[in-house]
């Protein structure tokens, strides 16, 4: 309680460098806790609990552990879609998509208690989201992806560049990103990359996170 609350908004460009989303189905039998522990060890800077269906009781149990792991390493802890779950877990951030609760409504509930991330399907919606108070944008799918069946057509790094030019809030690229193709995403203007399978489905989660983080950091250095 005595700890000064971290100003996540000011730190977002750093916190978005390597953003790992959980996905039990892709984790090859490993628990969320195991995967997140290894991802953090490998250099993840943000963790999103993605809980698409199933028991909220279980999400609370897992989420409390993930939140504690993130807090210990000053890593941004994000909850997908459910604002009630995000509040119950005292998450640092909630992430919404265009089928989730609308941004303006979300802000009414969370106020300044947490950040709000948003995934805009189009450039216009990216501008709207910034106007409505989104703190960062997840933009994708940059490359083809198999992790999200509803992700749509790949938009390429050109869209990253277009969104980065249009808005002043930080953005993170998502969709089919690996250590081999992360650099162009960052060079196009993203603060970092968000990944699911290339980390959670890797043989060695920690090594995969480490390689991705190195690729992002190198691209960020070359950008300046």
């Amino acid at each position: 309680m005595s700890r000064v609350k971290i100003d996540w908004r000011a730190r977002l460009p750093e916190s978005l460098r390597l953003y790992v989303l959980t996905d039990r189905g892709l984790s090859r039998g490993r628990s969320e806790r195991e995967v997140v522990d290894a991802a953090i060890a490998g250099g993840a800077t943000a963790i999103q609990l993605r809980w698409k269906s199933g028991s909220i009781r279980e999400a609370l149990q897992i989420g409390r552990d993930l939140k504690a792991m993130c807090a210990q390493s000053d890593i941004l802890f994000v909850v997908n879609d459910r604002i009630d779950l995000a509040l119950a877990l005292d998450a640092d951030c909630v992430h919404l998509g265009d089928e989730d609760l609308p941004l303006s409504d979300a802000r009414r509930i969370v106020g300044e208690r947490m950040l709000i991330g948003y995934s805009p399907p189009t450039l216009e919606e990216a501008l709207d989201a910034e106007r409505l108070g989104a703190d960062y944008l997840g933009v994708g799918p940059v490359y083809g992806t198999s992790s999200k069946s509803d992700a749509g057509e790949a938009i390429g790094v050109e869209r990253i560049a277009a969104v980065a030019r249009a808005v002043s809030i930080p953005i993170v690229g998502i969709g089919g990103i690996t250590a081999a193709n992360a650099a162009p995403v960052v060079q196009a203007g993203a603060s970092g990359v968000a990944v699911i399978s290339s980390v959670v489905a890797a043989d060695d989660v920690e090594a995969a996170a480490c390689e991705l983080r190195a690729a992002v950091d190198a691209a960020r250095r070359s950008r300046t």
């Binding site: 909220i56 009781r57 459910r82 604002i83 009630d84 509040l87 989730d100 609760l101 009414r108």
Partner: protein, 207 residues
């Protein structure tokens, strides 16, 4: 919301039987005929759509209470009156604190132990079932009005009986200790949902 009367005639949505657009129109007729609580129980629906549906209901059902299943965020944003929780939902205490005490909290229970826990946890009422065999739970025998009696013996909360309830069966579930009933197909499948709702309301009023 302490002191608020617990509704007695609950209508529950089921998109397998009735799409949400039709449901809001049926709910409006049913509310005019005496339904005093409408529940959105749509676990697979995206939150944006669920919020829209709840707001449509809010403006269509007059004074009937609106309950959203499981999602406290949607309940708060739609200005619903309550949230209906299952075994895998938030605890009553979490729901109470997340809603700042603004929401009525119902718990769905399927046995005496669950009903006892709901009372210990401080829920406002329970929905208990299923009492009779029903198309919604095909192949499972109903447990009869004695199931309600056994819950009433263990749990002081108002009990809303669910599962195959018809207007003709209301007298015996009330006699067994139910405070009210919840209906799905009995109203959603009726040729005239408003008239069906009126029959339920009349049977409840007769006790």
């Amino acid at each position: 919301m302490t002191g608020t009367a617990i509704p007695r005639l609950h209508l529950i949505s089921d998109r397998r039987l009735c799409d949400l657009r039709s449901f809001s129109s049926i709910a409006a007729h049913a509310a005019a005929a005496g339904v005093d609580a409408v529940h959105l129980r749509e676990k697979q629906l995206a939150a944006g759509e669920l919020l829209d549906a709840a707001r449509t209901l809010r403006s269509g059902v007059g004074n009937a209470a609106i309950f959203v299943n499981d999602r406290i965020d949607v309940a708060l944003l739609s200005d619903a009156d309550g949230v209906q929780l299952g075994e895998s939902s938030f605890s009553v205490a979490d729901a109470r604190s997340l809603s700042g005490g603004r929401l009525l909290i119902g718990r769905s229970v399927h046995d005496v132990e669950g009903a006892r826990r709901a009372a210990d946890d401080g829920a406002d009422f329970v929905i208990a079932g299923h009492v009779y065999e029903t198309a919604s739970k095909a192949g499972q025998a109903g447990r009869g009005p004695q199931f309600i009696a056994s819950i009433a013996a263990a749990c002081p909360l108002p009990i809303i009986a669910i599962g195959g309830i018809t207007p003709e069966r209301i007298a015996e579930v009330l006699a067994a200790g139910a405070h009210g009933v919840a209906v799905i197909s009995g109203i959603l499948y009726a040729d005239d949902p408003g008239s069906a709702a009126a029959l339920y309301a009349a049977a409840l009023a007769r006790g």
